[in-house]
Symmetry: D2
Subunit: 145 residues, 4 copies
């Protein structure tokens, strides 16, 4: 089972007045990982329509440890946990992995994404080629709805 | 039972390339409402220490409808749903209310906040004056832990 | 000679790790003032096409004093200093004015704006109704180019 | 004469509702390049005190071409154009360079930076080790003030 790995660069301005990466900014990191996964990589796999329109329906996000700006990117590891008929759920960890394999997890989160037909102005079903692409990153049983 | 009402100004740049307020930006609106509630208003009620340090432990956020920039602010209505020993939960709605009382809800969300002693570098317990302030906005039974 | 006055709300997250409003964020305040001036107010005066497309060609910005987040908005005072054939220049001050009239200036800046025809994909000339609107806020002689 | 080269990653959210990187965001790219230059690289050269406090006194920025989000970073090329007694000026280009050497310039800008002693709460003079570091990236005659 594959994971999507994204090396997410920080910006100095991601820190707030308390000197840590602001809680809201971590959702930007998740967005960047999703864009790379669902726009760039999906398109390379022939499933380019997510980039034409995708709506976030829900986030859950747990903050585990504070993160301070540094030049090195932080890892966003994404997997798919649900593929429905017209929505999907991804789960992520934002973390560092030391040379000895020890992980420092900053954030655990999940997002429900709804493919959207911008021209028609309404949600649309997940296509077979999208389903095949997503299932490579699937963590659990595929549930078709 | 009181609600905290915050008229949250939008910025034009809150919209993304899809022409809607970006999903991440709604968490900024929630932050602004929390700052007004837990920093400004709590301080006026004698509970000024949240402003010295507060950590977000968790968000849940559901997106109900898209929002487009306009000059008028959007309402963030906040209530307290849990007061624990060393954490609390707030729930919010981001919405418009028409003259006839009809509500258009854009977002429903909740946040777990942990008061934090920045000098000591660790979470701290909610003080009696903070508990009294929060309980005015409490939706359910106060659960002391 | 009129000035455009915009009461610009701050956000807590406008501060950076040094605890002041970040230098880049002041350009957001200028953008908000311009949006109100050139989109909202111009449209009310019958000059609604700036909102359909306007490009920033140049900024100059001088930082005079640091600003710290507070609930009260800061004033952005805008005037027009040049109306050309296909571009205009606005100058601004971001400041507080005390009850006794004393001014605290945080930023002085100017921006060259080019009206843009998004459908045609190219700059366009300033229309007579736009010129009339802008000239109400003009500080100096109108220079037609 | 050296140039400081920074490969600046874009974020999808850097685009605004017009579908281009927003004009304000380019100043974030300049900030990121400056942080890398004056905080990270200066510290490696023994001049670590800029990171303890630096204030932007002025920006000038000209927008040459629109930029659309893509996965590849954009280049920020920085040089020093003035080293004064208590301030310095850097000039930048934000651009792409094609394989055949053709340059596409999006932005040209300059910034006046004032080293700041946060503990003392006031500007401070540029130290000899800082001056030596900066002069490696100097474009013109060093002018001591």
């Amino acid at each position: 089972m594959a994971r999507h790995i994204y090396a997410c660069p920080l910006r100095w301005s991601d820190m707030d007045a308390f000197g840590h990466v602001n809680n809201v900014v971590f959702l930007r990191y998740l967005e960047e990982a999703r864009i790379d996964f669902m726009f760039t990589q999906a398109a390379e796999a022939g499933a380019g329509e997510f980039a034409g329109g995708s709506v976030v329906a829900r986030h859950e996000i747990d903050y585990r440890r504070p993160l301070v700006h540094r030049p090195e990117p932080v890892t966003v590891e994404t997997r798919v946990t649900r593929i429905g008929g017209a929505s999907l759920t991804v789960a992520y960890e934002i973390k560092d992995t030391a040379a000895d394999g020890t992980e420092t997890v900053y954030v655990q989160a999940s997002t429900v994404v709804v493919p959207y037909d911008l021209a028609e102005g309404r949600p649309r079903r997940i296509s077979p080629v999208e389903r095949e692409f997503l299932s490579r990153f699937m963590d659990e049983e595929v549930v078709a709805v």
